[in-house]
Amino acid sequence: MNNSPMISIVDVSYEYTNVDDTDLIALNHVDLTIEKGEHLVIIGHNGSGKSTLAKQMNALLLPSSGVVEVAGMDTRDPALLWSVRQTAGMVFQNPDNQIVATIVEEDVAFGPENLGIEPTEIMNRVTAALERVDMAQYRHKAPHLLSGGQKQRIAIAGVIAMKPDCIIFDEPTAMLDPSGRKEVINAMKVLNREEGITVVHITHFMEEAVGAHRVAVMEDGKLVMVGTPREIFTRVDELKELGLDVPQMTELASVLRKEGIDIPADVLTVEEMVNHLCQLKLMD
């Protein structure tokens, strides 16, 4: 193993030409380093450039200027393209549009097959990957009969069967109902905590960011904030200005502080809020 970070993004800009010949800047001098084993959440409203940034992380897009390195591999080097994509897998937003095969196990096998892995090894990987996302009993089913959350877990299994070090999730829960969302988030957490897979998660749902190691906020192609969830979410007013939500408990803490209540600004969960309120009560 080399000691380079999982993903290093140095001064990356990305421009593209629109249909009506105007040049648009989707990424504007972005710097970001993602360490191995990290769980990073990227938030920002639609059009802020977060999806473009995600696609830079596995060479689906290449920087106009600057350098992106995945485990020390420059994404612009054509010779490294497939190693980069095998190392940094990706799960997309629409569960229907990323499943290739008509049977679940065939779909999970798609990635390893592309890598030219031996058949018996593929079989083992498919079995392990389906068990990891708790979908083993659906192995022989047709994907179109599954729920949204189940389809996304199949997509995740398809990525982990390629044995990546990092998975980039591009709004994987946006089209799901609350139970589907929970399924996908749980799978994500398991992979990060138990398998040590680096997770980069792009989302609108601030509640999903609470458990992350770090949160990055994008606006207008720039990274405007990076820090721990506590550091980020205490900046309630700034986030609201950017058109973003904050977790409800953080918002409550913020309005209580404005009323002069002595409560920390970085409350994220219901349990924390209860503990703080009880302490306030005891102090009286």
Binding site: H45, N46, G47, Q93, S147, G148, E171, A174, M175, D177, P178, S179, G180, H204, G243, L244, D245, P247, Q248, M249, E251, L252, V255, L256, E259, I261, V270, E271, M273, V274, L277, C278, L280, K281, D284
Partner: protein, 287 residues
Amino acid sequence: MSIKIDGLIHTYNPGSPFETHALKNVTMHVESGEFIGLIGHTGSGKSTLIQHLNGLLKPTSGSIWINEVDITKPGVKLKDIRKKVGLVFQYPEYQLFEETIEKDIAFGPTNLGLKEEEVRQRVKEAMEMVKLSYEELKDRSPFDLSGGQRRRVAIAGVLAMQPDILILDEPTASLDPRGRDEILEQIQLMHQQKKMTVILVSHSMEDIGRLVDRIIVMHQGTIAFGGTPREIFTQTEELEAIGLGVPQITHLMKAMNRKGCQLPEDIFTVEEAKIIIMDYLRGKQNA
């Protein structure tokens, strides 16, 4: 305009091995001008139910009265129903097809056989309601717009039919917080200003709690229970048993009470919670 549903049953593929009972005896009543939140797990029958309200699906049995007219009776003109009951599907922007925004929004009113002048007037009004500038955008292609704007064009396409009842199936799905707030605000305004009867299907308990007069909870093809947000969100156990949640603020109140406090549990907005907690802390300080 009121809605009355009596003993509605809908079975897909009856008599085949794929037979599914999507609705089993649904009876409900919506008053004219009410704002209803329809919640339930995926597959609970919400989509099937709302598609009955403008005649897109025919009941296996039961009757549906829209303003004293039984729309399940033979001889009822479906066009008349669709004029009164506007239905906005999930991801409605995928139904856009015309070259210009104006033409697309005009599709509905034109189908109603209205005169050109009247159609244009309605397009203008509908665009105004969803806060899109008619002059600026009417000749643009809907496909040039951002996702959130495209969705508003699609909603305007239904509003231009000038329905008395507006049904929206998860109108904020996949939108970012700003897009979501804009659309919800516009729906609220339509309800208040145009006195429209609104049925909002949503998974977000926070949004539902903030907006609606009454909640109807569906489970496995039946109406599990109903009531004002205050009444519904105090029934945490019942909601969780059928795979639904309550707003975080309600959770907080419950958690405080488990620690021995005696706070009201029918609270679901940050503003309300602030007042309750302030009172609680001050009450303690005075003691």
